[in-house]
Symmetry: C2
Subunit: 302 residues, 2 copies
Amino acid sequence: MSELASSPAKIIDGKVYAERLRAEVAREVAQLKADHGLQPGLAVVLVGDDPASQIYVRSKGEHSLAVGMHSVTHRLPGDTQQAELMRLIAELNADPLIHGILVQLPLPKHLDERAVLAAINPDKDVDGLHVVNAGRLASGMPALTPCTPLGCMILLRETVGDLSGLRAVVVGRSVLVGRPIAQLLLQADCTVTIAHSRTRDLPAVCREADILVAAVGRPRMIRGDWIKPGAAVIDVGINRVPFDDPAKAAAGRTKVVGDVNFKEASQVAGWITPVPGGVGLMTVAVLLQNTVTAARRLQGLA
Amino acid sequence: MSELASSPAKIIDGKVYAERLRAEVAREVAQLKADHGLQPGLAVVLVGDDPASQIYVRSKGEHSLAVGMHSVTHRLPGDTQQAELMRLIAELNADPLIHGILVQLPLPKHLDERAVLAAINPDKDVDGLHVVNAGRLASGMPALTPCTPLGCMILLRETVGDLSGLRAVVVGRSVLVGRPIAQLLLQADCTVTIAHSRTRDLPAVCREADILVAAVGRPRMIRGDWIKPGAAVIDVGINRVPFDDPAKAAAGRTKVVGDVNFKEASQVAGWITPVPGGVGLMTVAVLLQNTVTAARRLQGLA
């Protein structure tokens, strides 16, 4: 990686890799149909009418159809009761045409989110949120893995290539992002360090990293001089901040930035994901891939 | 820790801390009986007549009685069939007097060990080997945790005290030891690095550690100059090697050593566990503590 030390970073364009992955998934779906008469099926469950959730759910439905999957979206009213939702999950668990079940979060406050997620058959849990999948991942067993962490790994493999022996530092230890990414980096034979809010001299710890993953949720926290020249920087943060331009900021306009100070970091890193336009774009494509993985395993084709 | 830099290490005597923990468990058992009429119960299952396993099982039975627990040992013949063993597990899962179930490993070759462990109710899995407990641990939920990793943590808390912000390096990434220890150190707010056979410049990585945990299974691999002066060194290795004395070695005599070169390391470290006499002595005491934990939670007293 050292040859890149003095050049500005290569930008990792999430759109390119997401499109590539969706095309790959479409080929796999076609192959599974041709060879085994198997059409992977994804069920998405939305409760209530949160506008952002509606957009996500529509996107998931459209993309799954576009790659040739069987796709069902269940839209339930906001006052749906727990028992009713649990009954739907049980039906989807039993449905042989459905290989992936995704419950769009957050659920309305009156519903027990944890109980709903725990009711999903772990082998159909394409969001990778079931405790059994966390346990399989932690035990090095075949698991369904949360989409954002897996998306980060795909970007790293497409850019850095073989990760074995590299030092990886994950900043942030959330159950949904930081911890699973650390597990995946360990599986890829990195020497993995998990840093967090209690870490002493975080800049020095970050400078050890050949691969630096930022998943903290603090806008532009990671500065250019925290980065080892030539390192691959994966920015998982999505933070809404006022515009830099004071006039726009005064008008209340905001924009989205990552956990990394992109302007500084891109002068030092070897590779870097922008925000927006990086990791975030991978999520739905990875969800489709997880659905194919689930279908293969449920059919005994893994 | 720096004040210890130039003195020889304090030896962490596993016997002392194991006795202390057993006394504490005995107090808790007495309290649970007095306050809630609850007597924690441990069932140990042994299949076959492996001599080492028989010693371990007897020890577990005796120690659980000694702290006032209900204790049952099931000794099954070596040709026990899978279905029969599964039936016993189901009975123990349903038995309200039993809060902890331990199947002594290894099982005879004809039995499916993984299926047996998966059949244990995770809430009674006092060995912490069920995938659901690995998932709970990885997700920061209340889990039953494998005994050796938990024993290491108890020794660290009894010696170092507050671990928050310290750099911990775990050498070894086994599912039974290295990975759960890393999870526990993270829970204790350490900055945690997991190193392994693919790690580059392992000595330098080890020298970063305020807390160094060796769980590799390679005799005396970790040398004195790999250790940061004043660090706490926890040696989980149990390796049988020929005696250093050539005459004894020639006579085929062996002894047990750890993964750390104790003679060298004890001149540099602040604290160090010997092998034998360190971590290994904690295991049964932690098993008893796990049984109390399981009993409290099953009774809704957590």
